[in-house]
């Protein structure tokens, strides 16, 4: 019988493994460099300059990586709006990737801004400029990561607090909180859907401000639409990749059918995205720029190939059903999508006047440090809380084992 994911179950393995220590090292290195940056300014640590004033932190850790972390948004849209209850067992994995990628993204933003003490004014409505796209992005992201995502991620934590080893008061409080979460869930989910729709599209609108300095193959009034749809695609693809990798590493059964239907959605959405992308380029009369085969033309073609080829390959059902064959293609698609999100901000951004930007080593290390921090969070959480999907048999077995242990202890 094919394994079917129905419930969530933690990995019973110690947290402090060798890969975890590697992540701790990378994160610590990044953190040390962040501290150094606070004492010496941005110039000594980064390659940022007056032409390319946004670099890796803002354009990669926030704009690109929160698209990967849009799984919580995309999966909630499928599960709770499109009424696809079968994806429910994947929601916790998706929400975990979201909260981790957004949290480290916001931390990277705090390191990137030059005058962080003025962040205090984010709570002072009299200084707000609601017409500013960056204000909207900052506001919606903060609300998302501090309210909506926390609310959505409460369930596994509360279940953990309801454990028999906990004091009675904690268990009771957790029980009340769980009842509240169950009642208020639709309001939280709706907020967690509305906010990313706004800020993921506004991350695209930000580059509208680049005007003619963003190459015409990327600069279009449809940037917000392209950005939010790409976040949807990347979010799902990343959840799939995380699940496939986790199941391979921890030897858990894979629900091939469920993953295949996600790949199917990814493939179709990508096809629609590409159709609009080419339609927009044709409408703006920029097809010539594609065929000029200059740097930007070739960049566009490679980027599009990285997105289009996997989408086409994943049309084959047998390939979708085999994770070992779907995995590499989903990886390629993810790289292409990330490249699309990154290109208008840096590679196709042309400030002129001889400005150049290539991230410095400390900048790369800080950026990696934040990714390692998210990985640490992932490794810890899936081993302590019921996050990763499991079959009914596994859940029943785990419950039986637990009760046997309890009896033995008694």
């Amino acid at each position: 019988m094919r394994p079917q994911w129905r419930r969530m179950l933690q990995i019973s393995e110690p947290v402090l493994t060798r890969p975890f220590w590697l992540m701790v090292t990378l994160a610590a290195l990044g953190l040390v460099l962040c501290t150094v940056r606070e004492f010496v300014g941005l110039h000594a640590v980064t390659a940022l300059n007056d032409g390319y004033s946004w670099g890796l932190f803002k354009n990669f850790n926030v704009t690109t990586l929160t698209a990967l972390g849009s799984g919580g948004y995309a999966m909630a849209l499928l599960t709770y709006v499109c009424n696809q209850g079968r994806f429910h067992s994947l929601m916790r994995t998706a929400l975990l990737t979201s909260i981790l990628s957004y949290t480290v993204g916001m931390l990277a933003l705090a390191v990137d801004i030059g005058r962080p003490w003025n962040l205090f004014f984010m709570v002072d409505p009299w200084t707000w400029n609601p017409h500013s796209i960056l204000w909207e992005v900052a506001f919606c992201m903060t609300a998302y990561v501090m309210i909506a995502l926390d609310f959505e991620n409460l369930a596994p934590l509360l279940e953990g607090l309801e454990d028999e080893n906990m004091p009675k008061l904690v268990r009771d409080l957790a029980g009340y909180a769980k009842r509240f979460v169950k009642t208020a869930y639709p309001y939280g989910v709706a907020l967690a859907l509305a906010l990313p729709t706004m800020h993921q599209s506004s991350l695209g609108s930000l580059m509208l401000l680049g005007g003619t300095r963003v190459h015409p193959l990327w600069q279009t009034h449809l940037l917000p639409l392209f950005y939010v749809v790409m976040a949807f695609i990347l979010g799902i693809a990343f959840v799939e990749l995380v699940l496939m990798a986790s199941c391979a590493v921890w030897r858990r059964p894979v629900d091939n059918r469920l993953l295949a239907s996600l790949s199917n959605i990814v493939s179709w959405t990508t096809a629609v995205w590409l159709a609009i992308r080419f339609g927009d380029i044709a409408m703006r009369g920029q097809l010539g720029a594609v065929l000029r085969f200059d740097f930007y033309g070739i960049l566009f073609l490679s980027e599009t190939a990285l997105i289009a080829v996997p989408a086409m390959v994943l049309r084959s059902e047998s390939r979708r059903l085999d994770p070992s064959r779907a995995f590499p293609w989903l990886c390629v698609l993810t790289i292409g999508g990330m490249l699309y999100r990154y290109t208008p901000t840096t590679i196709a951004f042309r400030p002129g006047e001889g400005y150049h930007y290539f991230p410095s080593v400390p900048e790369l290390l800080i950026s990696t440090g934040f990714i390692a921090l998210a990985m640490m969070g992932y490794l810890f959480t899936v081993k302590r809380f019921a996050i990763l999907p499991a079959t009914l048999e596994m859940s029943v077995q785990a419950a039986v084992t637990k009760s046997i242990k309890k009896e033995k202890a008694a």
Binding site: S53, N83, I113, P116, A190, A194
Partner: protein, 303 residues
């Protein structure tokens, strides 16, 4: 009275500057702060003496940038955190065509930097000056991404970095003085005044010298939605680094895209309400199903 030539020159110069200074200061005091003031730079008059560059550095308390002169001269190479105003030379490849170019904030009528600034640290202030207020600035540098002229600069090496850009010497205007660059220009290549007066002056020059000026037009009259720094030149504006922006401001285009989607905040509220309605139904159905299943299996329900 024994007056030699040198003293006579000095007296004449002092008299001219004094009269001009008083007239200008008086004119500004009489103006409403709503009036737009700006600069008119005529590239055909500029002799590239860079007196304005030095004067700007001094008037704004900026550190000199000796550049490649090894500490000898004030010789900045580009606008930077220490240079708010610069004179550059454009020369064509064969050397047949050349011109000086003055670069500083354009003080746009509808500035993209002001639209971009999340906490209103950049605003359009008195006399239409685009000004920076460090109290609320986050140092996010969105102004640098947004400015089509690459004007705002950032103090990258500072722990307490500021955004540096020309503010039309508003501290000098407050005490009745002209902006430093216009006050020292020996050829009146750059002059300060009310935008409409400057435009009239520019059009008089164009009318008086047919064929002298590029396209017989003033850059900034309509470009990018209009700017308060205006340019006359004998070579193409793009060669001087003034981009071809069309007559519409970047900010108005971006605002339009945003407003079409957001409809003054109605869209987000409507979307949220619709989402609550849908998820409420789906969630309820899902809960019933999962509670039943958990009961059958004797397991806890998982949200």
């Amino acid at each position: 009275m024994n007056v030699d030539r040198r003293t006579l020159f000095k007296m004449a110069a002092a008299g001219c500057v004094g009269v001009a200074g008083v007239r200008k200061a008086h004119a500004l005091a009489m103006q409403s702060t709503d009036d737009k003031f700006g600069l008119l730079y005529d590239a055909t008059r500029c002799i590239g003496c860079k007196a304005c560059v030095t004067a700007c550095t001094a008037a704004n308390g900026l550190a000199p940038e000796p550049g490649p002169s090894a500490g000898l001269y004030q010789a900045p190479e580009a606008l930077s955190a220490h240079t708010k105003n610069i004179i550059k030379l454009y020369r064509s490849a064969d050397g047949s065509e050349w011109s000086y170019m003055k670069q500083q904030c354009m003080h746009c009528a509808d500035p993209a930097c002001v639209l971009a600034c999340p906490l209103s640290a950049l605003t359009k202030g008195d006399f239409g000056i685009v000004q920076w207020n460090g109290t609320t600035c986050l140092g996010c540098r969105c102004c640098q991404i947004a400015c089509p002229f690459n004007i705002p600069k950032f103090e990258w090496s500072q722990v307490n970095p500021k955004v540096v850009k020309c503010e039309l010497c508003r501290h000098r205007l407050a005490v009745g003085k002209d902006p430093a660059c216009t006050a020292v220009c020996p050829r009146q290549a750059v002059i300060f005044g009310k935008r409409e007066d400057l435009l009239a002056d520019a059009h008089r020059r164009i009318a008086g010298n047919p064929g002298k000026y590029f396209q017989n037009r003033v850059y900034g009259e309509h470009d990018g939605g209009g700017t308060q720094s205006l340019y006359l030149s004998h070579v193409a504006f793009t060669k001087l680094g003034l981009p071809d922006l069309g007559n519409r401001s970047l900010a108005s285009g971006v605002r339009e895209v945003q407003e079409n989607v957001y409809q003054h905040g109605i869209t987000p509220v409507a979307v949220y309400t619709a989402l609550v309605a849908i998820t409420h139904r789906v969630w309820h159905k899902h809960r019933q199903h999962s509670a039943q299943e958990a009961e059958e299996l004797g397991l806890e329900e998982q949200i």
